[in-house]
Amino acid sequence: MGFLLETLIGGLMTGLLYSLVALGFVLIFKASGVFNFAQGAMVLFAALAMARFAEWIPRIAHIHSKAASNLLAFAAALTVMVVLAWLIEKLVLRKLVNQEGVTLLMATLGIAYFLEGFGQMLFGSDIYKIDVGLPKDPIFLLERVFPRGVLVNKEDLYAAAIAAALVIALSLFFQKTATGRALRAVADDHQAAQSIGIPLNRIWVIVWSVAGFVALVTGIIWGSKLGVQFSLSVVALKALPVVLLGGLTSVPGAIVGGMIIGVGEKVSEVYLGSQIGGGIEYWFGYVLVLFVLLFRPQGLFGEKVIDRI
């Protein structure tokens, strides 16, 4: 029983990390209708920037406090992501207005390739560490209920807290601020939003910046857990089924979808993996989402699109 609980918690934590990437997808899709394949590359890029700035800044500025250098590195990486968002809007999205979905999808794939190459050229292609001071020691919970307690990584708990804070902050931003309202208006109807004077281009820059911010946070959490390396960009592929499961337009959907897939993956890997050869994690999310889509084409929380097919 304790083992099952451990598996479940482990799955929830992994799922939460998927959710963070999925969140970036959903934000951009909602605001601009672009299915952003480059989110994974953005996570890699942001994490690389963060890791390297945290290394460079103390050396150049002679700062010895770790917190200060991390904070500075975070600010620098965030600036880089905002500049990137601005460039993407200026150089790519603005020129591709009114193109079909598949063309935009391909464009983001192009951006992904570019970022992967550019990031590694700029920041190097080794494995880097991000150390933001998350504690790594495991703790045991519920020792009274189960014989040996439930093993939980403290780092995971912090990551979960950060993710929760991020989601709350984003929902407040979307619900309570004027910019957030403008973002929702654009998501609802581009033309109507434009006709009441919402500047589409600026909104896109903001949305891509927010997605860049989410990518940065994701990159830091993943990076401090697994190290910053090229394989981070593959995370995007893990997050795709999460997005579809939750529904392309739903922020809570991204979170819940991530949890479901994270838990499902872990549980099926542990309990079925030995029987059919292991590596179920690789496709579990996709096959699950395939079945869900057959019955609920809009995903669990997506807006129902009434459409004949």
Binding site: A107, Y113, L290
Partner: protein, 354 residues
């Protein structure tokens, strides 16, 4: 001046509906065929066959298959690599398990297996479309990748799915030298291109295009969407399967599941989009572009004598590749095929444009 169709009157429906109605086009195609069949095998160096021509032919074939699905029927698929993998591994199994199986039969049967798989992964398209469908086809991609890696039966017991084939022979004729491999692939490509061209001109092709343009309207005029979509999946998967088998058997000789990973699917989608959606010609242009570009990018610094280390070169290749894709999408979203047809239009009026 030379490329002009006035004066060419058609006196029968047959003549009016032929594939190349303009005489100059027919002459051009005949010359091109003569060139690739007779001249290239004589003059091209061996490196050219291995590095460019054979990959180009097979990728064109694969792109042709994907173009039928994405370009003509409008169903976005990111599972093209999986179809190629099914074709390659199925053909391998036919060769390895059945003694005396003719090469041609295994290749085509590989295509048939891919067709079956394609129809299965096409079933979700009856319920979902667009980007959702793209992700649904990704499910097939990941599942096939995994199955080839982990299920030993599928790969005839070889560990981690890496297999290799013996020397290819057909009717006692060994297909070993690059020239023969090239001609072998060329025959496949020409035959399938003719078939595809005629399919998309015919009733079924019109049904695909109607479904692509507006599925509701297509259903109203009596096209069965399920039939149109599934046939597109079937035909496309068959061609992709044969291309996959050729890629494994003729181009590589030995391969592993990573050969047909998701990167292959993306690459094929690039080919189709850069070449031009819904254009047979575009598949060729796109494939040529994708095959030549990376080689050019790694060769260019050498030619100019700029020393460049390999890591940097590979990063630069990624960057330039990504940037070029975006650039092409912005400048010519309809692909190279559109440039080609614009060029032809211009040529008709040359040298006296209005």
């Amino acid at each position: 001046m030379l490329y002009r169709e006035n004066g060419q009157f058609k006196t029968s429906y047959r003549a009016d509906q032929q594939v190349f109605p303009i005489t100059q086009d027919r002459i051009g195609i005949a010359l091109l065929l003569a060139f690739v069949i007779i001249v290239i095998p004589v003059i091209a160096p061996e490196y050219l066959f291995r590095a460019i021509l054979i990959p180009f032919l097979i990728l064109s074939l694969a792109a042709l298959g994907l173009n039928i699905l994405v370009g003509y029927c409008g169903q976005i698929s990111l599972g093209a690599g999986a179809m190629m993998a099914v074709g390659a591994y199925a053909a391998y199994n036919f060769q390895a398990r059945l003694a005396g199986m003719p090469l041609l039969a295994s290749l085509l049967l590989g295509g048939v297996c891919a067709t079956v798989m394609g129809v299965v992964i096409g079933i979700p398209s009856l319920r979902i479309k667009g980007l959702y469908l793209a992700v649904a086809t990704l499910a097939a991609q990941f599942f096939v990748d995994w199955a080839c890696l982990r299920i030993p039966w599928l790969t005839h017991g070889s560990s981690s799915g890496s297999v290799s084939v013996a020397t290819l022979r057909m009717q006692g004729l060994q297909i070993e030298s690059p020239v023969r491999k090239y001609l072998f692939c060329l025959v496949f490509l020409v035959v399938f291109a003719m078939l595809a061209k005629n399919l998309v001109r015919g009733q079924i092709g019109r049904e695909w295009m109607a479904t692509r343009d507006m599925d509701v309207a297509a259903a109203v005029i009596g096209i069965r969407p399920a039939y149109a979509k599934l046939t597109a999946f079937a035909v496309s998967s068959f061609i992709l399967g044969v291309a996959g088998a050729l890629w494994g058997f003729v181009h590589l000789g030995s391969w592993e599941p990573a050969t047909f990973s998701i990167d292959r699917s993306f690459e094929l989608l690039f080919i189709v989009i850069i070449g031009g959606l819904g254009s047979i010609m575009g598949s060729f242009f796109g494939a040529a572009f994708i095959v030549v570009l990376p080689i050019l990018l790694t060769r260019l610094p050498q030619w100019f004598g700029i020393p460049i280390d390999t890591a940097l070169a590979s990063h630069l290749t990624y960057m330039i590749f990504g940037a070029l894709i975006v650039f092409f999408l912005i400048v010519e979203p309809h692909g190279l095929a559109r440039l080609w047809s614009t060029g032809k239009e211009k040529l008709r009026l040359w040298p006296f444009p209005h």
